[in-house]
């Protein structure tokens, strides 16, 4: 009734309740959009976590306790004893192959122990369950275990967390229970190092040129438009470009042959250097655009103040524009780099190795990276690899989260009030 009276006396409040109501609908729509987004994200996280923990049935050919010598457990024995054990238990052909890859006496203890685990003890994951099944279908799992036990007397049922402390310490292996991501982590770090070395100076340099030096003519506008478009080119295209330029055309450079570097395992340009440069090309437009925005955000009044004091262009850029743009440039670069870390497709094209057990030691090494490792493991038919992939995804997500957090901290810390 109040509304009606107001309408009779006051023209301006006509339809007000209708307008308010439609505002409420929009409010609900926006809320719904947010909730759907959050639900999708939680579904992703729950799905991954579901695969990271769960029961497994493990079998080993030899019970490790039977290998104790003079009361010293297998794990505490000396490196020489381990090598002796390997020599006893492996065929001469397999031994020769291992010695050819890298002499046993030169291998680290971790390496040797994982060899013993895979070649001598032969741990094997027979069956795996997800966290959900492990929590709510315990009886089915136990029944299954009892059935399997008849076939494999040494089988053991254990609750396993696939993400474990030594996940990043172990190298790739043919057996999921002993495989780790050390090779992939090192490959990712090496690759990203070259991506940064390539994309950061080039990107910031181009941004300075475009913002501070380039005249506003059709050529520079064309270049600008193209850079903006390049940022949206599918990453696989960059992979093909990288294959053509870095792997094929610049092979002497990227394989290290130019520097007299001969790696018998990589006689071609499918190296860390190629991968890093390809990812560098991929993020270059992003770095340029982010750096341009940061440079543009430096107030014009600072440049005027500097010129007004008789500073040259370069003195102005060096003393005022760059220091004030730096937090923005770094933030943008970190975000671009975190995209590069997650890239898979271009590296598949450039020739990431499918399975290597050796850590990269130079820019000219063969490589694999975290997303490549995840991609390979998820495409294997045995379920245990998917659990391992899930654990690797968690690691990758944490890594990306750290990078983004670093970007936010940088931004807040150096935020300038002009």
């Amino acid at each position: 009734m109040i509304v009606k009276r107001a309408r009779e006396t006051n023209d301006f409040s006509e339809n007000l309740s209708l307008r308010q109501r439609s505002g409420k609908y929009w409010h609900l729509m926006f809320l719904a959009a947010t909730i759907i987004g959050i639900l999708a994200l939680s579904a992703l996280i729950i799905n991954i976590v579901n695969s990271v923990f769960g029961y497994v049935i493990m079998d080993s050919k030899i019970n490790p306790s039977t290998l104790a010598v003079n009361g010293i457990e297998l794990e505490d024995q000396s490196t020489d004893q381990w090598i002796q054990l390997l020599q006893e238990k492996l065929s001469s052909g397999a031994l020769k192959k291992l010695e050819d890859e890298k002499p046993l006496s030169e291998r680290s203890r971790k390496d040797l122990f994982s060899l013993i685990e895979t070649r001598v003890l032969k741990y094997k994951v027979l069956e795996t369950w997800s966290l959900y099944d492990s929590l709510f279908r315990k009886s089915e799992i136990v029944n299954e275990y009892l059935r399997v036990k008849k076939e494999y007397p040494g089988a053991q049922l254990q609750f396993r967390s696939w993400i474990r402390g030594d996940l990043i310490m172990r190298s790739q292996s043919s057996e999921a229970s002993t495989a780790g991501i050390r090779t992939a982590v090192l490959g990712s770090l090496w690759t990203i190092l070259f991506t940064i070395l390539f994309a950061f100076p080039l990107g910031v340099g181009a941004a300075i040129y475009l913002e501070e030096y380039a005249k506003d003519n059709w050529l520079n506008r064309l270049i600008q438009t193209n850079i903006n478009n390049l940022a949206g080119v599918p990453s696989i295209i960059y992979g093909i470009l990288g294959l053509a330029i870095f792997v094929r055309a610049l092979e002497p450079l990227t394989s290290g042959a130019l520097f007299g570097f001969v790696d018998p395992t990589t006689a071609n340009g499918r190296t860390i250097l190629s991968a890093g440069l390809t990812l560098g090309l991929l993020v270059l437009p992003l770095v340029i655009i982010n750096a341009q925005e940061a440079i543009r955000a430096v107030p014009q009044s600072l440049r005027k103040a500097s010129y007004g004091l008789g500073a040259t262009k370069w003195q102005t850029i060096w003393a005022h524009v760059l220091p004030n743009a730096l937090p923005g440039i770094l933030t943008g670069t970190i975000l671009a780099i975190s995209r590069a870390i997650g890239e898979t497709a271009p590296l598949v094209v450039v020739g990431a190795s499918t399975a290597i057990t050796f850590d990269p030691t130079s820019p000219f090494s063969k490589f694999t990276t975290l997303p490549i490792q995840i991609y390979q493991w998820t495409s294997r038919p045995q379920s245990e690899w998917r659990h391992l992939a899930a654990a690797t995804i968690i690691f990758l997500l944490v890594l990306l989260l750290c990078l983004n957090a670093a970007a936010i901290i940088l931004r807040n810390r150096f935020e300038k009030k002009y």
Binding site: S306, Y307, L309, A319
Partner: protein
């Protein structure tokens, strides 16, 4: 140089933004060690003319001038004159205080350093800040950010910064328009104390300020037909405000117009 000879002279100065002629046929002589005010309605080219004196106009793309500006016998727009050198000898203070986001000390010392100042920087900072009537307020907080100062203090810091490179002329583009009356008064007093060492050219919207603070005044106005600004009267301030020759000046200074 003779004390009475002009520091800056313009000869048939025209200033263009692209094809548009913003300022037409200016012929004035800026007297040495005096304060010259440029007044006139908005958009008549006051700031454009001021910025032409130290070639700051060139930061805007597509500007060019015709005619010449003579500074101490040199054409500022001559072929072998570097604008960087021009701005070093003819300093500028802007409308909005724009200190660098650095310490107070660095604000004053930076420009001297890039010009290869060989003396004692600490002394230079102190003398510049003293001349800018700011030393007593900031001598204990030289390491603090310049952005922590008030607007009026920031503007005086900008003047100190301009003084520190020891220019011959200081151009001021409405230096007090963003400040309150007390800070404005301080800037005006400061200008009076600075004019024994420097020639000052100031653009102002505020006619009382021009009348109070300046020795000479140039009155600018847009031409009716071309929408281009020009100096219609250039006189000693007293004369211009009390016995204007031009009818338009009279209307403007008495508040009947503009």
């Amino acid at each position: 140089m003779n004390q009475l000879s002009p520091v800056l002279e313009t000869h048939n100065l025209n200033i263009y933004y692209g094809d548009f002629r913003a300022v037409t046929d200016v012929n004035i002589q800026i007297p040495r060690h005096k304060i010259t005010a440029i007044i006139g309605p908005s958009g008549c080219g006051k700031s454009t003319l001021l910025r032409a004196f130290n070639r700051m106009n060139e930061l805007v793309p597509n500007t060019h001038i015709e005619g010449e500006i003579i500074f101490e016998g040199h054409n500022l727009y001559g072929r072998n004159i570097d604008p960087v050198e021009v701005r070093y000898r003819i300093g500028m203070v802007f409308q909005k205080p724009n200190p660098f986001p650095k310490s107070i000390y660095e604000n004053v010392a930076w420009a001297a350093r890039i010009h290869g100042y060989r003396g004692n920087l600490d002394e230079l900072v102190e003398s510049s800040l003293t001349k800018a009537a700011l030393w007593d307020e900031v001598k204990d907080i030289l390491k603090q950010s310049a952005l922590s100062l008030s607007g009026g203090q920031q503007q005086r810091l900008c003047i100190a910064r301009a003084i520190a490179v020891q220019p011959e002329v200081i151009l001021m583009d409405e230096p007090a328009s963003a400040l309150d009356p007390i800070a404005t008064l301080k800037i005006e007093e400061l200008m009076q104390s600075l004019k024994k060492d420097y020639t000052i050219v100031i653009v102002t919207h505020n006619m009382q300020q021009a009348a109070r603070a300046s020795d000479y005044t140039a009155m600018m106005m847009l031409a009716e037909n071309t929408r281009s600004g020009t100096v219609i009267e250039f006189e000693e301030t007293n004369t211009l405000f009390t016995r204007p020759k031009d009818k338009r000046t009279e209307d403007y200074v008495t508040g009947r117009f503009g």
